[in-house]
């Protein structure tokens, strides 16, 4: 039914890759914003694994972002210094990282963040995946909010005043390029992985869970195992993004940077819904559009930006639920390789069988 058309998609992919490689040199002033764009795309893609493909709408995925950030920071600092001393001295003063120390710590920290988030996801999934529908959304939101409050009171990792990350050994120019390409690679890897994932049996299984969990279970899908695995994948990439983002910003603190539930945590949902949830390209398109519009208009809205965001969510959810890709697909199904007669004939064949 779905006739894949490899040529145009490949062309689009190559265009995006080239644009991503060229962008930091063409727009050097906007390098940080474009790095953020890749992070946003990663956010939307990882949210869609659960929200769109599996039908479990999490409002607390940002938890893994913050957890990854903190795990990475603790590993980076803890390898060479005492964490409590470092945080109580607000970094900087006692800590000088040699380039070797910095990059080793960063690499190990990122790996630890990714794996640590997977462990956390497995632990949490045993608790949270018994919750269905809106309870799951509220439960995950509660988890993220609780994490924020608890990290803010945990003195060992700096509490509410946060941790200053190790300073990048190099000039600002190479620093911004370094982090740009880290964000870029993380997002591209996520996209490739997710794309592969949706083409496997696993993708079909989580789609079955979305459509009807009980029937899927009756058909022999290990729903719990699949849900845990899907969430772990999401957490893995979010942990990496948290580690990279924390180092890119250079200072982490629980409320605004690590667990920004009402900014990034909601952006990822809004972006995916805008682009069209449950599609491969929806999150990418939604994130790109959202981020560009946001960056261009945000500063001119002067306090009205959050109202605009709230209205966007309401309008999106109430009037435009399929998102951009979903709308295009219903408007021009033939472009997606779905021919009406073929689809109808296919359905008839299924019914008669």
């Amino acid at each position: 039914m779905n006739i894949t058309r490899p040529l145009p998609q490949a062309v689009i992919c190559i265009c995006i890759l080239v644009a991503g490689l060229v962008a930091p040199f063409v727009f050097p002033d906007y390098r940080v914003q474009i790095s953020l764009l890749w992070i946003m795309i990663l956010f939307a893609l990882t949210w869609d694994i659960l929200g769109g493909q599996m039908g479990y709408n999490s409002l607390g995925n940002i938890f893994f972002f913050g957890a990854g950030m903190y795990i990475c920071a603790v590993v980076q600092v803890g390898l060479y210094f005492d964490v409590a001393e470092y945080t109580s001295a607000y970094g900087g003063t006692i800590a000088k990282f040699s380039p070797n120390q910095y990059f080793t710590g960063f690499l190990l920290g990122t790996i630890a963040a990714a794996l640590g988030c997977v462990v956390l996801a497995v632990l949490l999934s045993s608790v949270l995946f018994g919750l269905r529908g809106p309870y799951f959304a509220i439960g995950t939101l509660g988890t993220a909010l609780a994490a924020r409050e608890l990290f803010a009171t945990w003195g060992w990792i700096g509490g509410g005043s946060g941790i200053s990350m190790p300073v990048y050994p190099g000039d600002p120019y190479s620093r911004s390029l370094f982090f740009y390409f880290l964000c870029f690679v993380a997002a591209v890897l996520t996209f490739i992985f997710v794309r592969w994932l949706y083409s496997t049996r696993f993708g079909l299984a989580i789609n079955a869970i979305r459509d009807d969990e009980e029937k899927a279970e009756a058909m022999g899908v290990h729903t719990k195992r699949h849900k845990t695995a899907a969430w772990s994948i999401s957490a893995f990439f979010l942990g990496i993004s948290g580690a990279v983002f924390g180092n890119m910003i250079g200072f982490i603190e629980p409320a605004e940077v690590a667990f920004p539930t009402v900014t990034f945590g909601i952006f990822m949902v809004a972006m995916t819904l805008l682009g069209g949830k449950g599609t491969l390209w929806g999150p990418v398109i939604g994130a790109t559009l959202f981020h560009i519009v946001k960056e261009v208009t945000w500063t001119y809205l002067l306090g009205w930006q959050w109202i605009a965001l709230g209205l966007l969510i309401i309008i999106n959810v109430v009037y435009f639920q399929d998102g951009i890709v979903g709308w295009i697909r219903t408007r021009w199904p033939e472009y997606f390789g779905v021919r009406i007669e073929a689809a109808a004939a296919d359905k008839n064949a299924q019914v008669s069988r």
Partner: protein
């Protein structure tokens, strides 16, 4: 790890204080009950909307805060904030009506996450609108009532807290009698039981939904006036109130009014104790952790139920 130890020892010290001077317990329980009564109002509104139209209203706390700002405006214009109860209730009823027709009406039939997200968006809009109008300062509506001292001045009871408690009881009674006796109350209960059957019987369910949502907003508005008199309000304090309402309703189950009241009192007292024992910065963490705990507990119950079904 040293910090953690000092934290635990501080906690033990505070518990020791409670043991040495049990009179502090009276203070904590009283404050918990006074504040819990108001939580019960907001939670009842949520349970109403949840039970009747199956919409989980995440902007519940924002409705409460909106009501609170009525009292704030009254107090600023040298009118006693308690008079704000009437306009706050009426205006919030109207606001609820408009909100229902603009947003909620269109998400009732959709899946549950839709209504959750739509009301979340609404919550963002209200928060920021309040922030733009009133600024981000923490406000309280000065009521000018006296404070009583009992037990040799060890326990303080502000008169305004007693008055707000009494008003809570009065409001709750009015709502309960309304639901039991009035035509609309009966229609609401019929719709909650079976919306389709109610439609067959000639009940205009759309009107019932609109009325239920507006009633909820009105109840929240009244609760907000009381909150701003005995506690504090701020544009972004709505989320904790929403979470409290969710904790209470999830713990009690909707349609269980005594349960809602008990859970609300329990939450109020628990918050006061955690604030005293662990420090005020843990108060919010307690609410959120309780939410997760209640959800987990509910799930354990459900899984036990499932095993029985097997």
């Amino acid at each position: 790890m040293f910090v953690f130890q000092s934290f635990v020892s501080a906690m033990l010290d505070n518990i020791a204080v409670l043991k040495v001077a049990p009179i502090f317990n009276v203070q904590l329980v009283l404050d918990g009950l006074f504040i819990g009564a108001i939580f019960a109002l907001a939670a009842y509104g949520l349970a109403l909307v949840w039970g009747v139209m199956n919409v989980k209203n995440l902007s519940q706390g924002e409705f409460v805060i909106m009501g609170g700002y009525f009292a704030h405006v009254f107090a600023q214009n040298d009118i006693h904030p308690i008079f704000a109860l009437i306009p706050a209730t009426i205006m919030m009823f109207g606001f609820g009506w408009i909100t229902y027709h603009l947003i909620i009406k269109r998400v009732i039939e959709r899946d549950l996450f839709t209504s959750l997200l739509a009301t979340f968006g609404l919550a963002l809009v209200i928060q920021q609108a309040l922030n733009l109008v009133f600024g981000p300062d923490v406000q309280t509506a000065e009521s000018g009532f006296e404070t009583r001292f009992i037990f040799d001045g060890l326990v303080t009871v502000a008169d305004v807290k007693l008055i707000s408690f009494a008003l809570c009881v009065v409001l709750a009674t009015i709502v309960i009698i309304f639901m039991k006796k009035s035509r609309m109350g009966q229609a609401i209960r019929a719709t909650a039981q079976d919306a389709r059957a109610a439609r067959v019987m000639g009940i205009d369910t759309d009107r019932v939904y609109a009325f239920t949502f507006s009633l909820n907003a009105a109840i929240c508005g009244a609760a907000g006036v009381l909150i701003s008199m005995i506690w504090v309000i701020q544009p972004f304090y709505g989320i904790p109130h929403s979470i409290r309402a969710f904790v209470i309703v999830t713990a009690a189950g909707f349609g269980n009014l005594p349960g809602v009241i008990l859970a609300a009192f329990g939450l109020g007292v628990a918050e006061q104790y955690s604030g005293f024992v662990m420090g005020a910065e843990f108060q919010q963490a307690t609410v959120v952790s309780l939410l997760v705990a209640v959800l987990v507990w509910r799930q354990i119950q459900l899984s036990r139920h499932r095993q029985v079904v097997k």
